[in-house]
Amino acid sequence: MDALGRGLAVLLVLTLLAPVFGWAAGQVGYAEPLENAAEATGATDDADPVGDAPLPDYGVPGLGSAAGTFVSAVVGTALTLLIVAGLGRLLGTDDRA
């Protein structure tokens, strides 16, 4: 398998792991230092989302949590791949020229 194929295989494994990790993090209770700081200073209630995300919290509305996380992982990973590869090509040089 060439490098690109192997890279894509790694990406697929990571997206499959996303729901597993999501479940495990839920078991211990997810809290980042940012959230701890918000609680310590009473900022938690000030969070005020502007606009609605199409896939809020890495989930698909109406889909189960594991399936939603997996779909979100695939969509986000594919979008990043396409945009950054496109950006690279845009800013790059054609070395065959």
């Binding site: 990406l11 918000a38 200073t41 919290d57």
Partner: protein
């Protein structure tokens, strides 16, 4: 470390956004013409890997969890300028598609994770590389994410929602990420060592294999 809307005062969010745009514009100019077309898809794969890895929340007993951010990793693998643009793309997709990190504070989040973490992580890596690449990559990941957390803590600590408790935000986020950053450093170093052996041509300082 993704700040939601409502946490940072508007002038601070706008100032960080302007700074982020300026640095990214400079970064784009610096890499202009440096990416070969053959390397572009691989650069995309590295960025996509960072997005996917950020979704993996490592549960840590005691009720915290953290995920790999990958700023230093991107800088080491892709060079700092391309790395900054790659992580900025990841952070923008997270906010726009998944609501992870606010829209008004998008510039601040890009500043912390795609600029501070990337360039600080890269500087630490370059500084320590003569003493061993593995150790340097570890320190870059570790101190890069800590630096990004500190700038986030300053933005929050200077805002009204956090009652201007700068000392509290800096202490909680600085110490928190200094500890959690050990995981970031470990992943950065291990994956870097593996990729450097498996794909030496991915490195920014190596000439593309098809250039002839």
């Amino acid at each position: 470390m993704h700040i939601p809307d409502g946490y940072v005062d508007l002038p601070i969010a706008l100032a960080c956004g302007a700074l982020a745009v300026a640095v990214l514009a400079l970064a784009a100019r610096r890499i202009d013409g440096e990416v070969s077309d053959a390397r572009a898809p691989l650069v995309g794969v590295v960025a996509a890997g960072i997005f996917a890895a950020q979704m993996l929340n490592w549960p840590i007993p005691g009720g915290t969890s953290a995920h790999f951010v990958g700023g230093a990793f991107a800088a080491i693998m892709l060079g700092p300028h391309l790395g900054a643009l790659a992580v900025a793309t990841v952070v923008a997709i997270q906010a726009l598609v998944f609501g992870d990190g606010g829209l008004v504070v998008l510039g601040a989040n890009v500043f912390n994770m795609a600029i501070v973490e990337v360039y600080v992580g890269y500087a630490v890596y370059r500084l320590l590389a003569p003493y061993g690449e593995f150790r340097a990559a570890f320190a870059g990941g570790w101190l890069g994410i800590t630096a990004g957390a500190l700038t986030a803590a300053v933005q929050l600590g200077l805002s009204s929602a956090f009652a201007y408790e700068l000392v509290t935000t800096v202490a909680i986020m600085g110490v928190g990420h200094l500890v959690l950053g050990l995981i970031e450093g470990g992943i950065t170093a291990v994956v870097y060592r593996y990729l450097a052996r498996a794909r030496p041509d991915l490195r920014p300082d190596v000439a593309p294999e098809v250039s002839a």
